[in-house]
């Protein structure tokens, strides 16, 4: 990761923001950016996982949570208060919406973005329209 530009850019990015509010320095896990949108019959969750290969991603579904853990191909070093921390994983735990059909969740991974499609449970009681 040694690059003149990268060090230059890092200085600007790190000076403005504190990693504490986002990353887990104790467990050395980066928290990835994610974006959640609702569509008619489903929710779509996108998770940004740069530097990760498809076969190094684990998606675990519990009754009410999604746990995403992914190993970085190359570790990511962050210097904080003069101490260097080496991150090797991304990890994020996301609460599932109620009425999520967890049996039919689908995932795909393209250009470093993990997309998780969560269908809604649409079964219900039919009512007549008057």
């Amino acid at each position: 990761m040694t690059s003149d530009f990268l060090s230059w850019f890092e200085k600007r990015m790190e000076s403005s923001f504190d990693h504490d509010f986002m990353d887990d320095f104790i467990h050395r896990e980066l928290v990835p950016l994610s974006h959640f949108i609702e569509r008619n019959s489903k929710w779509i969750l996108e998770v940004d996982l740069p530097g990760v290969k498809k076969n190094n991603i684990d998606v675990i579904i519990t009754s009410d949570h999604l746990i995403i853990k992914a190993k970085l191909e190359e570790s990511y070093k962050v210097s904080r208060h003069g101490h260097m921390t080496e991150f090797e994983y991304f990890k994020k735990v996301i609460g599932l919406p109620s009425h999520a059909n967890i049996k039919k969740i689908e995932t795909k991974f393209k250009n470093g973005i993990l997309t998780i499609i969560i269908p809604k449970i649409t079964a219900g009681k039919k009512i007549s329209v008057k």
Partner: protein
């Protein structure tokens, strides 16, 4: 006898926005062209953050120069309240330095975009710049919606006598998108007529995405301050 053509004075403005396109592209241009820092945009309302480089203290919005090219680069998002003052400062600086053209690179959200066929569209505030768009094969941004603080800045620039070109590169709105920024850099390189070697940038795509996470998060918080107006713009060609 060849007629001497005056080199245009160009001011490039990079503020955090969709995909961090402005931030990524102009940071790289400033670095590649070894531009000198010549000042700062001072505003007491801008996030009180400073960074130290080679023992010198700098604020979050800095001005760089190389020949007739100027760059204003902000490390912090410009929110709705800051946008009018920021725009005014930019215009005062542009007038004082006899800037011929302002260029603002930013991003436009395209869901499921084709990464290998990214496009950069242009929007001008003055028809004088149509020729620059044509010469550099930049398609026109014909119809759509621009929301957020960008819209406030654009309104100020539209009413100014200094012509402005806004470059919209297709990108992912929600995540840092250096791959799209490559296209922006190539377009700016043609406009300013400087060769910019992208080798170093291309090698560091993943790390740039990682490094930009916090700024992206902050930027989205600012863009989404007024939820009503954040529906991603559409292009109709």
């Amino acid at each position: 006898m060849k007629k001497m053509q005056k080199e245009l004075s160009i001011l490039l403005i990079g503020i955090p926005g969709p995909g961090l396109i402005g931030t990524l592209s102009l940071n790289y241009i400033v670095h590649s062209l070894k531009m000198d820092i010549i000042g700062e945009v001072e505003n007491p309302e801008i996030t009180p953050v400073v960074f130290i480089d080679n023992g010198e203290i700098f604020g979050p919005v800095r001005i760089y120069k190389s020949g007739s090219i100027f760059v204003v680069l902000s490390d912090t998002p410009i929110d709705y309240e800051l946008a009018p003052g920021f725009s005014q400062s930019i215009l005062e600086f542009a007038e004082k330095n006899r800037i011929d053209m302002i260029v603002i690179p930013t991003g436009i959200h395209v869901p499921d975009r084709n990464v290998k066929n990214t496009k950069t569209y242009g929007l001008v505030t003055n028809e004088k710049l149509d020729a620059i768009m044509y010469e550099n094969e930049i398609p026109k941004f014909l119809s759509g919606v621009i929301a957020g603080p960008d819209a406030i800045i654009l309104t100020y620039l539209k009413n100014s006598p200094i012509p402005t070109l806004i470059l919209f590169t297709e990108c992912n709105l929600f995540f840092p998108d250096p791959e799209s920024a490559i296209h922006t850099i190539q377009t700016i390189s043609k406009i300013v007529n400087r060769n910019i070697d992208l080798t170093e940038f291309k090698k560091q795509i993943n790390f740039l995405r990682l490094q930009g996470r916090h700024l992206m998060e902050e930027t989205l918080n600012v863009i989404q301050q007024e939820k009503e107006s954040t529906s991603p713009p559409q292009i109709y060609k």
